[in-house]
């Protein structure tokens, strides 16, 4: 094998004896670890399992809707399934996904630190998350919950006979898990940067997490309190939300969305960070407008707290209140637009390599664009009247959260997989899975925009009152099965690569960033010597990059079957 990159002679050095993976093989050495990288792997395994569960439930929902009167489920079962799908995907997959896996793994390495500021807190937050997951499973075993992941009162507090209290308990604990992660990140980013790592040399990925963590620690306590209030109303009959007890049902929605709208940004901002890393690396370009991209994250985090009322235009809130929320919602869309323009321009005059992470990142851009722009229909008060609570909304938020956050998550996992495991996966299969995911995704969710505009309400098990929606449901279900293939593929070839993949070396992509200066997999203390940072992030040179060849380039061109995992 030739040297993996011209610029990284370290690749030729003998493999390090000890890395974070082989440093201890017992189960206890994993379950009691304080190493942020091992905790990240624990999270990666857990969120993947939850993602599989959530996706299976989505498949049931989609299969059920092929016929106007349903295929196999009772309406009560159906309601429990979409509720669980939502709860699992939001609280147990999307919110922890990028922060707790990639964030945990990368933030200390990207800023040149040995670990997070509070390693024990980090482990505790994983345990809270797992306990929350177990409680959710108990809730399912005891009959499930049928309120929707939004737990609207007074239905959830007074009328639902399902396991609402347990499920709320699970969401509550999962919330604390993410608060701990948020605190850990903020302190780490403030206090543990390597010498020379100034704020404006931070990778944009770190900026994304910084903004997210601010939202987490300001917003999550509010939803925790809201859920406690709901619990108190349910069990002790304290009147907060139910008019029968003297409460106000719309108050619940205000409190709930005060957290849950910013929660969308918790999901998407780290994703945007991933995209910034990938686009720059695979274009070999300094990011266009670094400061604008960094500050747009903060702007999104800040403004994101002021827009919750756009979920309530038709709830009975005053229309003047609605107008204030509408105008701020339009404002918060702009920093996202700025990011898209900056990423696109970053490719200009680059030296573009279309390897798997880049394929996912380009897919992200396309899908996030659609997700973001269709948000305009819902920010506009008039158009929202007709579209809210229909499949248009379902399509919109899947484009943002699944097309956006999940694509970014997959792109990130593919980008940093060689770093995390020291192995290269099969590049052809990687690109194929990105393509299948993109096509399947569009086939699944584009028809839902049409369906929503036609008036198909969400959370509907039947539509025999107006069966015109059927053709769109069929298309959408077909898409879901294509998408399922796209999502399942990486699980196989990535695991395969663990055994059969080519050794990655420290920097197979030819990327910048401190995490690429250390061996793959990294040693337990990340760096042998604390690095000193002397240059800006993304100090790429596209002209030079034309002449260099990385391990990934070589694998792409003369791919040999006995090598990277066929």
């Amino acid at each position: 094998m030739r040297a993996s990159t011209v610029k990284n002679p370290a690749a030729e050095a003998p493999k390090p004896e000890s890395n974070y993976l082989n440093n201890g093989h017992t189960i206890a050495s994993w379950l009691l670890t304080k190493d942020h990288k091992r905790i990240a792997i624990l999270y990666l395994i857990s969120v993947t399992i939850f993602f599989a569960v959530g996706s299976f439930l989505a498949g049931l929902i989609r299969a059920e809707l092929i016929l106007p009167r349903g295929v196999m489920l009772e309406n009560e079962t159906y309601n429990k399934i979409f509720t669980l799908h939502g709860v699992v995907m939001i609280f147990f997959f999307l919110i922890p996904s990028i922060p707790a896996t990639l964030g945990n793994f990368l933030i200390p390495m990207m800023i040149g630190a040995k670990d997070l500021a509070f390693p024990r807190l980090n482990l505790l937050s994983w345990y809270l998350y797992i306990i929350a997951g177990l409680i959710a499973i108990v809730a399912i075993a005891m009959g499930g919950v049928d309120t929707g992941w939004t737990f609207y009162a007074p239905y959830a507090s007074m009328y639902s006979n399902s396991q609402v209290s347990l499920t709320i308990g699970a969401a509550f604990l999962a919330g604390f898990s993410s608060i701990f992660t948020g605190i850990n990140f903020i302190v780490t980013i403030h206090k543990m940067r390597a010498p020379g790592m100034t704020w404006f040399r931070l990778p944009l990925y770190v900026w994304g997490h910084y903004s997210t963590s601010i939202i987490i620690i300001l917003g999550t306590p509010v939803v925790a309190i809201t859920l406690l209030m709901l619990l108190a109303e349910r069990t002790l009959h304290l009147g907060f939300f139910s008019p029968e007890l003297g409460g106000d049902p719309v108050l619940f929605q205000h409190l709930f969305w005060f957290y849950s709208h910013p929660a969308v940004y918790i999901m998407i901002l780290p994703g945007m960070g991933v995209i910034s890393e990938i686009i720059t690396c695979f274009s070999r370009r300094r990011i266009f407008g670094y400061e604008f991209v960094a500050f747009s994250s903060l702007a999104i985090a800040g403004l994101g707290f002021l827009v919750w009322g756009h979920h309530l235009y038709v709830s009975g809130q005053s229309m003047y209140q609605g107008m204030v929320f509408s105008i701020i919602t339009f404002l918060v869309a702009i920093p996202s637009a700025v990011k898209v323009f900056n990423w696109s321009t970053t490719i200009f005059k680059g030296s573009v390599r279309l390897q798997t992470p880049m394929a996912y990142a380009l897919g992200f851009m396309g899908l996030f664009l659609v997700g973001g722009l269709t948000g305009l229909y819902l920010s506009s008060m008039a158009t929202d009247i007709h579209l809210t609570d229909t499949y248009f909304v379902v399509a919109h938020f899947h484009f943002v959260m699944v097309g956006g956050a999940v694509m970014a998550m997959l792109g990130g996992v593919h980008f940093w997989w060689p770093k995390m495991t020291g192995k290269m996966y099969n590049e052809h299969l990687g690109k194929l899975s990105a393509a299948i995911t993109f096509v399947g995704f569009n086939l699944t969710f584009l028809p839902q925009f049409a369906m929503g505009y036609l008036g198909m309400p969400r959370r509907y098990h039947y539509y025999y009152l107006w069966p015109d929606f059927q053709i769109y449901h069929i298309l959408s279900t077909a898409g879901a099965f294509v998408l399922a293939i796209g999502y399942a593929m990486p699980a196989f070839y990535l695991l395969w690569s663990l055994k059969h993949g080519k050794d990655a070396g420290p920097n197979p992509w030819g990327a910048k960033g401190l995490e690429w200066t250390t061996p793959s997999p990294p040693p337990t203390e990340n760096f042998t010597t604390i690095p000193i940072v002397t240059e800006e992030a993304y100090n790429y040179d596209p002209e030079l990059a034309e002449r260099e060849e990385t391990l990934a380039d070589m694998l792409e061109h003369d791919y040999s079957p006995e090598g990277a995992g066929n």
């Binding site: 609207y152 709830s315 321009t345 851009m365 659609v370 506009s380 007709h386 009152l465």
Partner: protein, 339 residues
């Protein structure tokens, strides 16, 4: 055969435009769509061209690649901003129109409960899960829920409003095209949420009159109008033990109440409207009229939402006070004008 299989399905592209609001609504919808498509096309073309032109190994000028450009940043911040503000004003204007009904709109009551829509016409006709309306008339729906939040949604009219327990909400429309259109409940409300719907029948005035004359082709539960039912309830619950045609020591008069400003013991003021009347019956202690103690008992557990609506309709018909405030409560249990 796949051909005939496909022919089984119709593939509608838009819902019917059956109300006056639908046309301007669709204008905004399609303008937004044009904008969306435009931006998607621009960005996708830009990315595709860059990716192909600057692909690794392809000869191209890569020198002096820019890393920032103030004017460009300002432009692509300002242009979306201006477009967004345009959409904001256009859309909010239409929203406000949709929320302010014409003064003389015909009121119809809608009560949502798990899992049914009860509809109550002013002449006493009731319907469940069906709403018959004449074409070309302004109709205002006054809505409340009995249990959880529901949402009254007619896609063909492009209108939807949550129906909330404990407070009245409202929406209005003018139907423009006879036909049968679906009504849905759009806010998740429990087990049979998906079945909580029905149809609105828009009829020509002549057909509607005929329908009405036949008593709505349905067995009516009663032929009394809401006002008459309200009066009966007023008597049954003996409201007039305290509320007579003038203020007494026992209670303030309800004559001329609706629309009047009330002064409360806590110093606040409020115009007596539908919401206030309902609250005064359900939780009278919340706003005590100046000069009175909290002596009225709540009727919360005895009275249903439809009865509250009837009582309001009846109280609304009571004119101004017919005599000067009496110093002593007349031992009367009836009001002068209602007999």
């Amino acid at each position: 055969m796949p051909g005939s299989l496909l022919a089984q399905f119709n593939m509608p592209l838009m819902p019917e435009q059956a109300s006056e609001f639908a046309k301007p609504y669709d204008s905004i919808f399609f303008a937004t769509t044009a904008l969306t498509v435009f931006f998607i096309v621009v960005v996708v073309i830009m990315i595709t061209v860059f990716v192909i032109r600057y692909r690794h190994g392809v000869k191209a000028d890569r020198s002096n690649a820019p890393t920032s450009h103030m004017l460009l940043e300002i432009t692509w911040t300002a242009v979306p901003f201006i477009l967004a503000m345009g959409m904001f004003f256009w859309s909010s204007y239409l929203f406000v129109q949709q929320r302010i009904p014409p003064k003389d709109a015909q009121e119809i009551y809608v009560i949502g409960k798990q899992w049914m829509w009860h509809i109550q016409h002013p002449n006493g006709i009731r319907e469940n899960n069906e709403l018959h309306v004449p074409v070309g008339k302004d109709i205002k729906l006054v809505m409340i829920a009995q249990d959880v939040i529901h949402s009254f949604y007619i896609p063909a009219f492009r209108m939807k409003q949550d129906v909330v327990p404990g407070r009245y909400t409202m929406q209005w429309f003018k139907a423009t095209k006879p036909g049968k259109y679906p009504i849905f409940c759009a806010e998740y409300c429990g087990t049979q949420h998906s079945e909580m719907g029905g149809y609105v029948y828009v009829m020509s005035q002549a057909d509607f009159d005929k329908w009405q004359a036949n008593g709505g082709e349905k067995v009516k539960e009663t032929d009394l109008t809401p006002v008459a039912q309200g009066k009966a309830l007023f008597e049954r619950y003996r409201c007039a033990t305290c509320h007579v045609d003038a203020d007494t020591e026992r209670g303030p008069t309800l004559f001329g109440l609706v629309g009047k400003t009330r002064d409360f013991t806590d110093g606040s003021k409020k115009v007596a409207d539908r919401e206030y009347v309902r609250e005064s019956i359900v939780s009278p202690e919340k706003h005590l009229v100046k000069g009175y103690d909290n002596t009225m008992a709540t009727y919360k557990d005895d009275i249903t939402e439809d009865q509250l609506l009837y009582l309001y309709e009846y109280i609304r018909t009571l004119g101004g006070p017919s005599r000067k405030p009496a110093s002593a409560p007349a031992a009367t249990n009836q009001t002068g004008t209602t007999r």
